[in-house]
Amino acid sequence: LSDDIYREIILDHYRNPRNKGKINNPDVVIHDSNPLCGDQIDIFLKVEEGQIKDIKFDGKGCAISQASASMLTEMVMDKPLTTAKDISKDEILENIGLTNLGPARIKCALLSLKVLKMGMVKYYSDKEPKTAEKIEEDSHLY
């Protein structure tokens, strides 16, 4: 019972979050919260030559929001921005092993992805406004 959501991997990332903290002088820092739970996520990005050189998240909230943020940082660390910007919500849900979340909890699982996409929008907004627009459209999906 309950193991379907609170599996080992979620509890592990919740208790031992990866890449948690702040980055000094980040290229992008972005914050959002989920009014339902009060989950909060800040994402800090360091970008070099189109690559995510460093990513950290800071935040508080439920196990699902914090664990999915932790996993997301692992997914995009050292990856090209182009890869990161194309991550879909299904990829996230599959990665954390929660494909059957209800409408309320799915927002917890996808908060960090939303914040990352908002960060990308911010990063691209003066460099490539068209790309920024495209990411912004996508990020309204969740």
């Binding site: 309950s2 609170y6 739970c37």
Partner: protein, 415 residues
């Protein structure tokens, strides 16, 4: 069985939803501070209106419209008796308690609140008793001050008196909940109103949590305004009540304007309808107001003293068991006489939303979050709590199921 003890099984039979199973388990509904379940009599009352005498009220002269008008006004009568108001003119139907507060902020506040005036609230108010006043204060350049709560969530009458002595001419309204929706603490509202009236300051009581659970008598309480919602007391959603002393209502301008709230409309000017209709513009929520009368009958038959006794009994039982849980943090007053059937808590580092998700697997509906009381949450230095809240149909067996589920959560999170 003592005569005062509720006949729970008989009561439970009146609530169709309680026969449901969730995830293969009996449905345990512990979110009554948010909304309560509806007995068959309320559901039937609404269905009967639509089935047999659906029509608009107050205007048409044919038979079914008179039936509908009578039924709608009968609810007003029952509300008046339920809270022991002086006259029917003092009972106004709104959509919910929130709208009732907004009505006061708009119709009374915009007329009475001037630059530099103070509106006194407390740190434990629901957002609905903060935001309308903030907007009014911004518009009028008035000031909002908050009575502090201590770590148990209690207000201090001394602090109130010192505010009143210091700012007596400036304070134009005190607006407080009678029972905190987040912690369940009961505010000594009669004393507060007595003190406020010594300084001629009117008091609005947010009774959303108290009227459904504690016998309310506006003549004893002597509040100037009282707001509450039908859906938190077995009634339908979409019905709120604003009680206001008649002499105050008479000075208030309309809130929503249109049909039914007018006496005569001419091209250049309009005269408004008598109380209470002046504040009920447009076709109201006829079906649900009519349905609410069955809820008032239901509570009256049980007796509000018995409702309260049952909830104290359940809360005492639950608190005794919860105190023994590992890493439990309980909020609110420890004296059962100072709290309603609401238990706000945290279990170690399990986030309340995770806990609520785990409890859902056991068929339990429990609330988690900031409970629309973020100022209080900040004060208690938590971002969220879990909240179990009881009503007349809850049983000790359900509390056992609840405690067992908390135990399972503790194991799952390895606290």
């Amino acid at each position: 069985m003592q005569s005062t003890e509720l006949e729970i099984n008989k009561i439970r039979d009146d609530f169709p939803i309680l026969t449901r199973t969730i995830n293969g388990r009996p449905f345990v509904y512990l979110d009554n501070a948010s909304t309560t379940q509806k007995p068959s009599s309320v559901i039937k009352k609404i269905s009967d209106y639509y089935s047999f005498y659906n029509s608009n009220i107050h205007r048409a002269v044919y038979h079914v419209a008179e039936e509908a008008t009578d039924a709608y006004e009968l609810t007003r009568n029952k509300v008046c008796k339920f809270i022991n108001a002086t006259s029917l003119e003092e009972i106004i139907f709104t959509r919910n308690a929130t709208e009732a507060i907004n009505l006061v902020a708009y119709s009374w506040g915009r007329k009475k609140i001037k630059k530099g005036d103070i509106i006194l609230l407390s740190e434990q108010e629901h957002h609905s008793n903060i935001v309308p006043w903030q907007i009014l204060a911004k518009e009028k350049k008035a000031i909002i001050k908050y009575l502090k709560i201590n770590e148990r969530g209690n207000l201090s009458l001394n602090e109130l008196e010192s505010y009143l002595r210091k700012y007596k001419e400036k304070i134009k309204l005190i607006s407080l909940c009678h029972m905190s929706n987040a912690l369940g603490n009961i505010v000594p509202i009669d004393d507060i109103i007595n003190i406020a009236h010594e300084y001629d300051i009117p008091v609005l009581v947010d009774g959303a949590q108290s009227v459904p659970h504690i016998k309310t008598d506006v003549k004893i309480m002597n509040s100037d305004f009282l707001v509450f919602s039908a859906h938190k007391m077995l009634g339908p959603t979409g019905v709120g009540i604003l009680y206001t002393k008649k002499n105050i209502l008479e000075e208030m301008d309309p809130f929503i304007c249109g049909g039914d709230m007018i006496k005569e409309v001419h091209k250049e000017n309009t005269s408004f309808n008598d109380l209470p209709y002046k504040f009920e513009a447009g076709t109201p929520n006829i079906a649900d107001v009519i349905g609410f009368s069955a809820a008032l009958d239901y509570l009256t038959n049980i007796g509000m003293e018995n409702v309260r006794r049952h909830e104290i009994d359940l809360t005492k039982y639950a608190l005794q068991l919860m105190t023994d849980l590992k890493h439990i943090k309980l909020y609110g007053d420890t004296n059962l006489n100072n709290r309603g059937g609401i238990i706000s808590f945290n279990l170690g580092d399990i986030h309340p939303h995770d806990l609520a998700t785990i409890l859902n697997k056991y068929g339990i509906a429990m609330r988690s979050g900031h409970h629309c009381a973020q100022i209080m949450m900040e004060k208690l230095d938590v971002s969220a709590t879990s909240r179990a809240s009881f009503y007349i149909y809850n049983t000790k067996e359900e509390i056992n199921i609840f405690i067992n589920a908390l135990d399972e959560a503790i194991k799952l999170f390895r606290l």
